[in-house]
Symmetry: C2
Subunit: 330 residues, 2 copies
């Protein structure tokens, strides 16, 4: 197995990416191909010790910035680390691709160069989120902002497989995000989707209201990519604002500062739970190859854990499992 | 001025509603008509002292439950406190209606019995949310889940008026909730809406990303009712889960419990900031009458503050102001 990692992707590339790759090489020794501007990769690698036989370096002269328009950059930069890295998956010996770079570009390049798993119409991005009951897997969080009910059926099937095989959840239930709990609630889209999932997804749980997302009622939560993206970003921003507010208030009062100090260890445990880097990247499911998108702000631990999750996808033959469930006749 | 209050609406009705009405009567002495089952209202009122001359009681024999389907209940229960209370606004002398009951029923009854302000096509629900920079007013949070760009134009105009007149914000800016910050981001709906707002809303700020909602970048945030509802409920659920998590962790450790105790006063200030009951109810804007929807969980303070906000709407002639901006020719 060899995992291709985009050395040029993310806000702290190539430093953070390469540090994470080195940690992975030293801790669980996967074979890795780092793709990007060779001299920058080699320069950075000089800082570290690692089993060199496990690492291949592949030169890609171009890189796509975080904010370039996705489809344009894919067409114009045929030699970017994202494009060349994804195309590698069509060659034997390269099993997965990870990038903390431009999400839109990774989605577009994966769809164009890998195509879809037969039976799947549109790719979706899944993400592990912490809940009161361990964690849940939410999909789609932004690849497909105007989906059809069939797309959400496929997301349900793919999320179930990912939760079982990669996250190790024995019997994952699938909830449909909806602004009402009862059957028959929501827009026409949700009503139709609810009916379809009830009919075709044996582990369907029913509707999940947005305020229940973090309660951990079911392992998989399915929604359209626009709403999923809003959900994710609102949560990020709310936690950020709330902690800024707490710091502001506590800073006014020495007694409260002492209090915060005494709570430190426990708050650290919570922070760890909410830390996306614990869960690795966000799998792009539905394309005909294993692709993992890491947060732009990825630190080395996030990259290392994304490599671990991608390796599990490879080991558990995620693509052929999805293929056999989505298009059982094929 | 007289404000009609639905005595039967909300999870803690009529007790919480009546307690809030009594507080309002004692604190700022508006004229109020309580509508609902007369003997229950009178029984409850026996507990309190208040200026009786300011209070009228109107009997409504039926009440609509929190989870009844809205349009059916409106048609079947013509003598409910919601239906009769809203119809009162067409009579002279009754200026605003407040209910903490079934939101869907209030929206449906208001649309049917009051009609729309000329020029406005669909009503929207606005809500004050706390931010790092005081508070913002977000609209729509659930009345219109499948809006057209024109509806969001009207929401922008109505939110601006509400922010200026009722919330006292001198120069409110309007942001469009969108999953990307740059112009040209988002779905076709957002792109089209962005263009329309840029053209027609002089105080348009541009796109606001979901993670920026609580930063307080602009006083008014406009979005479709589905997304607004998700945003609101996700935020509620996340704060609830986070505080449950903190309690769970802190409870494991006496030192952390002491720490939490020392922080109590400061955390209380934050709680107060995040407390919806400080801001009163959520105005239903666009219908041809002043209607305020309070949270189902409203406590007496929330009811009292909703009465105060409704009174400000009446004083500042919100309806005619909206009418002159939305349909300037009329």
């Amino acid at each position: 197995m060899k995992i291709v990692v985009d050395a040029m992707g993310g806000d702290h590339a190539p430093q953070a990416v390469i540090a994470g790759v080195v940690d992975a090489l030293n801790e669980f020794a996967p074979s890795i191909a780092l793709i990007g501007i060779r001299e920058r990769i080699e320069g950075e690698l000089k800082k570290y010790k690692f089993p060199a036989s496990l690492l291949e370096i592949i030169h890609a002269p171009e890189s796509i910035d975080m904010h370039e328009p996705a489809t344009v950059s894919i067409r114009k930069k045929r030699n970017s680390s994202i494009t060349l890295g994804i195309e590698l998956l069509k060659k034997p010996g390269y099993d997965a691709f990870i990038s903390a770079g431009n999400t839109g570009a990774v989605v577009a390049a994966s769809s164009i160069y890998l195509g879809m798993i037969p039976g799947v119409e549109r790719p979706g991005i899944g993400l592990v989120i912490p809940t009161l009951n361990k964690f849940s897997f939410i999909m789609d969080v932004g690849a497909n902002t105007d989906p059809k009910p069939e797309h959400l059926l496929h997301y349900s099937q793919m999320a179930t497989i990912y939760a079982r095989e990669v996250l190790g959840i024995a019997d994952p239930k699938v909830g449909l995000l909806n602004i009402g709990a009862e059957e028959g609630k929501g827009t026409d889209f949700e009503k139709e989707t609810h009916k379809l999932l009830q009919e075709k997804v044996p582990n369907f749980f029913g509707n999940i209201e947005p305020n229940e997302v973090y309660f951990g009622k079911c392992a998989c939560i399915i929604c359209d990519g626009y709403v999923g993206n809003v959900l994710l970003k609102v949560s990020e921003g709310l936690l950020e604002s709330a902690s800024a507010l707490i710091k502001r208030e506590v800073g006014k009062d020495p007694l409260a500062m002492l209090g915060a100090f005494l709570m430190k260890t426990r708050l650290h445990n919570i922070k760890k739970l909410a830390d996306y880097s614990e869960y690795g990247g966000a799998p792009l499911l539905g394309v005909n190859g294993i692709v993992m998108i890491s947060h732009g702000r990825s630190n080395p631990k996030a990259i290392k854990n994304a490599i671990r999750a991608a390796a599990r996808e490879v080991e558990h033959k995620i693509i052929s499992r999805i293929s056999s469930v989505v298009a059982p006749g094929s």
